[in-house]
């Protein structure tokens, strides 16, 4: 069955909005009951990591651009896309951390976001270029226990920055 977009959310590129994005996306996934509870935790963490990277990418360009979050659904899967308007990056060329047994590992406080995303979701795709980056993350559902809310109306929300 084809994916249908069920949510589009545009938020200012500020860290204080990430908790709200986590809440909105996880609440939608919970209402649909496509994913098991522990996968909702995976979804929240993956969304948080992608939003953190998106905010950083937008800030690096020096422009005021939002982070755009969209959710797409089919009966057996939940897909979320986090888009920024930064300068893009090559997801295949990321710095590697020393092994955890190496004392130098403690010199690396950053760079865990994308490895975490790759571990948490069933599929991740990066569309990155000079116009920005879209991170597409897919989680597949297990057998549904009971029917979730199937409202098909798309919710579009744009939250403007006060500043």
């Amino acid at each position: 069955m084809a994916l249908e977009r069920s949510l589009e959310l545009s938020v200012p590129s500020r860290p204080e909005y990430i908790a709200m994005v986590r809440l909105v996306v996880s609440s939608l996934a919970t209402a649909r009951r496509t994913l098991a509870d522990e996968r909702i935790d995976d979804l929240k963490l993956a969304v948080s990591e992608a939003c953190t990277n998106a905010i950083e990418a937008n800030h690096a360009t020096g422009t005021i651009q939002p982070v755009v979050v969209s959710c797409w659904e089919a009966p057996e899967r939940f897909e979320v896309c986090i888009a920024d308007f930064g300068a893009g990056f090559d997801p295949d060329v990321l710095p590697e951390h020393p092994p955890v047994t190496d004392p130098d590992r403690l010199n690396f406080e950053r760079g865990l976001g994308i490895p975490l995303i790759r571990s948490l979701v069933d599929d991740v795709r990066f569309e990155s270029g000079a116009e920005g980056t879209k991170v597409w993350m897919t989680l597949f559902g297990g057998p549904a226990v009971e029917e979730g809310d199937k409202t098909s109306e798309i919710v579009r929300v744009v939250i403007a920055d006060e500043e």
Partner: protein
């Protein structure tokens, strides 16, 4: 949501820092500041109690790694208390369960 940070230094030589709430890129700087403050005050054996943490992402992990590095450079240690599977999972995925000593309770962490 405001990050809760409560310090209990009644378990000499251990200092227990109870963390409550969500630790992400918004709130993690306050955790970093508190760890830096405790080290600068001379606290060397710090137990971060994460059982009140509802959410922890890689920014929070980075702050804890930075805290551990800072303490070890002062011959100290940063130990963790964590029993929640959803939080432990983040440490397990990143392999950091082998970097930190993670206990099931504050009593266990401070038992020496």
């Amino acid at each position: 949501m405001e990050l809760g940070l409560h310090v209990d230094d009644s378990r000499t030589p251990y200092t227990v820092l109870a963390v409550k709430g969500e630790v992400d890129v918004y709130s993690a700087p306050r955790l970093r500041e508190k760890l830096v403050e405790l080290v600068s005050e001379g606290h060397r054996q710090i137990v971060a109690d994460l059982d009140g943490v509802d959410f922890l992402d890689s920014t929070g992990l980075g702050v804890l790694v930075g805290g551990l590095k800072r303490l070890r450079s002062h011959d100290g240690d940063l130990m963790l208390v964590c029993t929640q599977p959803r939080i432990l999972k983040v440490f397990e995925i990143t392999g950091l369960t082998t970097v930190f000593r993670i206990s099931g309770s504050v009593d266990e962490a401070t038992a020496g």
